[in-house]
Amino acid sequence: VTYIERIEVGGTSSAGAFEGALDITPGLFVVSADNAFGKTLAATAVVWCLGLEPMFGLRDDDPVCFPLAVRDVIDFPSVKAAQVISSFASVTFRRSDGARLRLRRDIIGTPQEVTVDEFEPRASESRRSKMVARRKTMADEAAGLQNLLFRWFALPRSAIMNNRGEEKEIYLENLAPHFYIDQTEAWSTVQALQVFRYGQQDISAASVEYLLGADEALRSRLRSQAHATRQSQLKQRASDLTTLILHAFAKQGWPVDWSAHGSLQDIISRWTRTSVQEIARKKFKFDLKKEQEQLSKKLDVLNKRLSKEGLDKHNAASSSNASQAVIDLKSRRHALREELNVTRTQYVDQRQLAETLEHRINAAKDVLRLKNLGLGRIDEVECPTCHRHLEPSSFGLTVQSTSAVEAHITALQRDRALVLDNARSAADQATRLSAEIEAIDEQLRGAERALSVVNAAAGNVREQLATIATEIVEVQRLMEKNHAVSAELDRLQADVEAWVREAQTVVADEPASGDLSNRVRALLDSLRAFLAALGHAGIDLENLSMIRLDESYTPYLDHRRLRSVGSASDHARLVMAYALALATASSVVNGRHPGFVVFDEPLQQNPDPSHRAMFRRFLARLARERLPYSVLIFTSLEVQEVEELRAAAVPVHTPRAKHFLQLVSPN
């Protein structure tokens, strides 16, 4: 058993040196002192020396969790408002083998450093080292404080995935909310002080698994998280690839049904059923070989005309033909643009209509539920004047039956399918038109170049030669374009195949979950026992067996979160029961609990006499049970209560001084 052996706080002030110390025995240990004694100061010293201030939401090395008495001004019986010049906290831990670890950290001074004294078993000499409290506290093998603490407490390092898909570690401040219950915040709910801002995934559940020693479950959790991250990355890549494919097809005016929806398995199944080249060939009749053959033939004819065939000296139509080609293309482009505008308007209208139909369907479904629930139904009305029985039909109203509403929903759904189909057709048509306009633009540029060349040529023969030459250039351009399209499709298909291969390995590598049942059973059994012993108002013998833990180890009573059962004062009982249950279960299943639990002011939430009596009975029971871990409680008890507890063999320490911190006599 590891336990806290000694807590010290001290420093220097304008009135002289001051100090306070608390020696603690293993097992259950209760410190009872009046309010303002400095109990919370002593409790805070523990977390401060362990470098756990992020638990309070503080920045690294910020000592604001301590009271002003060790940070600014301190009152002594003889001197009021003495200025604090320097201050420190020190905690000594003792392991069951006799080894001791003393941690000393400045509060005012250099809080970035922790002086560590390691005492081997039965050795009086220590090995002293300076550690860095927060910066690279885990990563720094030589000077990181948490690195040393995990080693000294024999706690293994455990990896966990963060929200960015990077591998991180479980830190001591992620475990401490289970064994350090702070006075101010921690009594409201289990793990109230958990640190979520590091972004570790499922850290609440992982911290419980760690303390229960469920190493296989943690490894499995990491594998699952890595797997989920990998899946999400692959989905993103599939989505990016889909965008590229749709864009490549849209450039040619080919509306294609290609998506990255569904699970990886769904995408793999769809993407292996066909290929992008096959779609281009079957749906859009793009056959590179055939196209190139046709263009080659055309090129041969043009080359022959250019090199061998005679030209008509009297044919003066070249220039007007070239000019007409430009005019035709411009007219065609104008018509296509008009058509595209109409199609886009139709698309927007259809989408709006689909949206309206969606609302109508939802409203009609709600009307159906309204009728089935019988809400707002007005069947009988009596005329206020003649007291005659009136029906809704008397007011010209016809109440629709549920079957009529169902028929209406079916009709609306049919309309919606039709409208969505129209919208899809409009979108496809817009894609085709856009690509056609782009192609016409390109042809137009060629035709304008041809016109300019023909116009520059002098004489009919030269004009005809210029026309043939520009036609040859156009055919060559088309051949190059076809090659480029084909190469792009090949490249995209290669990307698709690479993606599929990678996705298949990820799908095949589905991680199995680690076996946790025995450990969770131990936690649940202990939790039930402690809740009953602490007198949780929502728990009785009837429903004790209905307490369960969900997949994040949050306690439930049947289908209700246990936190919402009982009274507000039961929150504190739940927190205490959970912390003790985790320590007990860890000892039963050989887990990773450090072996001590600190409770600061457990009675503050339950000040009435009956609850105090119940709490005393609970402490007496803990003392009888000879705990396999240490429990340190800071509280304030009446004299009779202390006597009663001591009679029940509960070690209660009642300091003689009024305050924890005292001026040190110069002698």
Partner: protein, 175 residues
Amino acid sequence: MSTIATVITQLDGLLVEVGARPRLQGERIARSTLYDPDYHVAMVACAFNICAEQVGSSRRILRGWLKLLQFVATRPRLAHDLLGWASTRRQATLETWRRMPRGYIGDQTHDAVLDLLVARSALAESGDWLLDGSNSTLLDGTYHGICEAKLFATERNVMNQARELRVSKAMLGGQ
């Protein structure tokens, strides 16, 4: 041949002339829930509970405002237009003027439902105002039931947006 059948035949002829292929589906004749009194009662209950103003121990709402509210709530695409028009109506332009939904005036189902609710004493009339009737728990119970069952979320959302509007008779007249 009935009048409707004649109209359909004429429409069919016109559509064929422009190259369309008309297809008649008898199932579509299911009456819309927009004419269902239960739906209207639900809308009145929501509108009265969300938008009625408290005067002493009673609540009241302008009859025309209630009519417009339920009309827009059941056609949420109009909500944006109504809010846009209401915010600019004092500097109305041709663009903003046309955004005021005026079709609500002819909503006869709503009028009939209000008559029914007044006869049932769920609401009481006082000039242009509708007040809590002696049996107003009918509407309150309906509204709470709707909230509990999470029904008509879109409609209630529109009403919640519209409750911030300052309503006047001039506004309801489209001025």
